[in-house]
Symmetry: C2
Subunit: 414 residues, 2 copies
């Protein structure tokens, strides 16, 4: 085991600190799982010449469903509810082995995209969680909680969730969360209980919110309230809530999210691909200081787990919708994908600072798509692709080095 | 020189023939510059085992400005006209050497994205054209024609264009076009003359059309006609016109494009990034049988030359705008990027058939982002990135093989 690493002569370091400083020609010294020094050359067990690299905090993918990667491309170009029916029908027939394989493919794909942490929602067999552990990624795994008639889980999903929380608590790199699925798949009582379960175990409640117009219109019919209004009326919205999608919101609902300290996971690629309309109102969220993070969503609805694409798409979709090239800039989406993601998860990462977890990605600045270098951040957000990711370090351990995955045997995954 | 190539045991061949057949486990025999046989094993000078590949027609990038790649990331996240001012100001100071280097970077990036042909618009010194020739790509180079007060070209841009047409006529892989820039940069007389010059030399007139709302509104003020109406009224619109952007159109104008046989180059990523609004009305174009092709536009406005991204973005932007996941499907955008592009250019390529030019790309199906394979076309359009491109053949010659560029020394490009 390597105990210390020196990233020597980094051409750039995107610190993502409070001042968003970009350092030039410097060194990062990693000891155990943390960044111990910046700027000093120290002797280390492992030294990497970083003169062709920009070192970036690893990306945080704040919403996905890794097991479903086994269904990538399975039901594309279909109207939303036709898609959902086909995915759910197939999902109910998935074997444990298929889910584990899908999860493994997803982990590999995420590593190659520079992702070091992700938030997931899927029913997990132990075998799947072990594959995730093996990958070396930091995983926030949400056990899905749904009404009995909406799930194929054996037994009570709330009890299953609690068992899952207990089993995987305090395990290395795994954090179990509670995943009350959505307002259309959980009755009020279940939502409240799931939230209380998350509170009791001091973890996050991870929920889909206002993804489609139908979700909004059904909620209005049933509860006489919009989705965020309804969730707030039952006391669901607090600091430990991670709300995915949040497309169909009013300004009032955005203020509520801000006041309650709810974290948002924007999934613009998935929303566009499923034709859900209602582009997530990120400019208004930023105005109200809502913490915005970025998710790829699933390979069934995206269909890639590529954070470069998600950053660029997020910015461009809003520029297109608002007729304003100056809206949601490169620095904004890079923040969503790094420092904001970490803050949402209470993770001591997302920026490169002394004492922070060493979740680091080495980006190849000599890759042809990164030339010339007029603006580092622009190139990373608008020009880069997974092809620029050379090396990925999670908690001071190499997960990928010089393009080679070290934690899993990639050739066996087919 | 290799005179014949056998692509043996291709896992899939995306023929893009009239029936859009996808062949399994077959062989492609290339002789000189053409596909000579499909399905037969023949002895060849060079044999490639293609059992892990899908063989696809090379992509046709129908609108770009390669020289400006030297300004990639130079003026991002700015309002459109502030961006344009900064780019033009910088452009006027570019040296011949910078333009040649930008062009070289662009060619390398395009090869790695599976592009085998592209349509460009930029003033070309001979050195730049030779770099393009060296790359091995098929290039359709449009000499920009602008009013005297809009250009920094020395001399008359129409005369320069004619000289360019004569110099580069009938040269290998280079086709010179005429590039009347736009209605806002060319007076009526110049537009008419440029079009006649293209007619005289039996080549294409390549023009920007209705890219921004300002272009439309200025045209309405000056000519009392919308952009396509105006161009039609001066007899500009005929079969040999390639119109880039075409965002701000009415249904009537789309019908005009269809009736005149004008070819459209859609550049959705660039339009979104510049916040031009007015998403190109592709569904209506398809209804009227307008030939739609895809362009990346420039690295100053995109900022990558990645046809996978452009295909996905094109589909997703329209799905998002129209609230319809079933609109502009994977097969549609794959057609735009291959067979339609070739047809627009009168190029005997864009599909894999006996007698067609061997412009072929070997896509790695074992790349992690392509697993599992539920739907080949979905994976290519919605999941793939340049990382899946293994080998690129243009006119029966290897341009990239097993990820190594063979036509240029990539390491010298910095």
């Amino acid at each position: 085991m390597v105990m210390s690493i020196l990233l020597k002569n980094c051409r750039y370091v995107l610190t993502q600190d409070a001042k968003r400083r970009i350092l030039k020609n410097t060194h990062i010294y990693v000891e155990e799982d943390k960044v111990a020094e910046i700027g000093k050359v120290k002797s280390a067990d492992d030294v990497i010449d970083c003169s062709r690299f920009a070192v970036s905090p690893g990306f945080v993918n704040s919403h996905t469903h890794i097991g479903s990667t086994i269904m990538r491309g399975y039901a594309d170009d279909l109207p939303f509810f036709e898609w959902l029916d086909r995915i759910w029908e197939r999902e109910h027939r998935l074997t444990e082995k298929e889910i584990a394989l899908g999860s493994q493919i997803a982990c590999l794909e995420m590593i190659k995209s520079g992702i070091t942490s992700f938030v997931d929602m899927y029913p997990y067999e132990d075998g799947t969680v072990r594959k995730v552990q093996e990958s070396g990624l930091r995983a926030f795994l949400s056990w899905p909680v749904l009404d009995k008639d909406k799930t194929t889980q054996k037994g009570d999903s709330l009890k299953n969730a609690e068992r899952f929380l207990k089993t995987w608590k305090d395990k290395e790199r795994i954090t179990p969360l509670v995943g009350p699925h959505a307002v259309y798949s959980c009755e009020k009582e279940l939502l409240v209980k799931a939230k209380k379960l998350a509170d009791k175990h001091r973890t996050l409640a991870h929920i889909h919110v206002a993804e489609t117009r139908k979700e909004l219109s059904d909620c209005l019919k049933k509860n006489k309230k919009r989705v965020v209004e309804y969730l707030d009326s039952i006391g669901f919205l607090e600091k430990n809530v991670l709300a995915a999608h949040c497309s169909w919101l009013t300004k009032g609902e955005i203020r509520t999210l801000a006041q309650r300290g709810v974290k948002v996971s924007a999934c613009p690629v998935s929303n566009a691909k499923l034709g859900t309309g209602g582009v997530i109102p990120i400019p208004e969220m930023l105005e109200d200081k809502v913490l915005v993070t970025l998710g790829t969503d699933a390979a069934t609805s995206n269909n890639s787990l590529n954070m470069f694409e998600t950053m660029k798409f997020c910015s461009l979709l809003l520029k297109s919708q608002r007729w304003d090239a100056a809206i949601v800039k490169a620095q904004d989406v890079f923040d969503f994908a790094t420092v904001n993601g970490a803050r949402a998860l209470g993770l001591n990462a997302g920026s490169i600072e002394r004492g922070k977890l060493a979740d680091l990605v080495l980006m190849d600045l000599e890759h042809i798509g990164m030339l010339p270098m007029n603006n580092l951040l622009s190139n990373l957000v608008y020009s880069a692709s997974p092809a620029v990711v050379d090396t990925v370090i999670v908690g001071g351990k190499f997960v990928m080095r010089e393009k080679e995955i070290l934690t899993m045997d990639e050739r066996t995954v087919k």
